[in-house]
Symmetry: C2
Amino acid sequence: MEANDKQAVNKEFTEECGKILAAVSDALYAIGGKWKLMIIIAMARGNNRFTELQRQVKGISARVLSNELKELELNGFIVKKVSVGYPVSIEYELLPYSHTLEEVVGAMTRWGMQHREKIKNDIAASGASKS
Amino acid sequence: MEANDKQAVNKEFTEECGKILAAVSDALYAIGGKWKLMIIIAMARGNNRFTELQRQVKGISARVLSNELKELELNGFIVKKVSVGYPVSIEYELLPYSHTLEEVVGAMTRWGMQHREKIKNDIAASGASKS
């Protein structure tokens, strides 16, 4: 390959890498962190009230859940519905845009499950080699 | 549906939700945060030295990159190779286990790209409605 061709290929490769990194960075900015995907998953399975979400998403504090819900609303994933009456009832609902995350959630779920299996096997193997 | 049947369905639904949340939580624990996937993507595209990684993964500090590389090594995604000689050369290489992340990276990349398009269109639309 000529030096110029190689340089062109390298440039394209670096640009492509930059594009993928930018896309993943955008995704992490919107849905990254410890909680956002978890909250969306819990909502997709019928947990629509603050207390239900807090019970389902283990370890989240009320303050953090409240902030995360606000950010999810700002990004168009969910909507907060307040029904007037007594007592006032507040429910959070997923908006259609949240469904665009199904592929990401599916991939993360499958990977997390196989990763847990791997860790279990690694621990079993290291136990067996010690005994 | 009988009350007992409904309870059984609810229980199964809650258990399934719990399993998905646990899997995604495991995944986020191992590959969550702002940098790990980005580092793996940059390495998969031929950036194997510390300085290359720091240049490619925009905004990461040397201290954070160093910590992230250590954690990626502990989790079996990469290996640090030190070749003796003068000067000593250090390179990071992906291990086969990192390839199990391809589906997750692909899903995140596609979602990030469409999300960027959506944001652009939202901004264009809000600009048009103002003028």
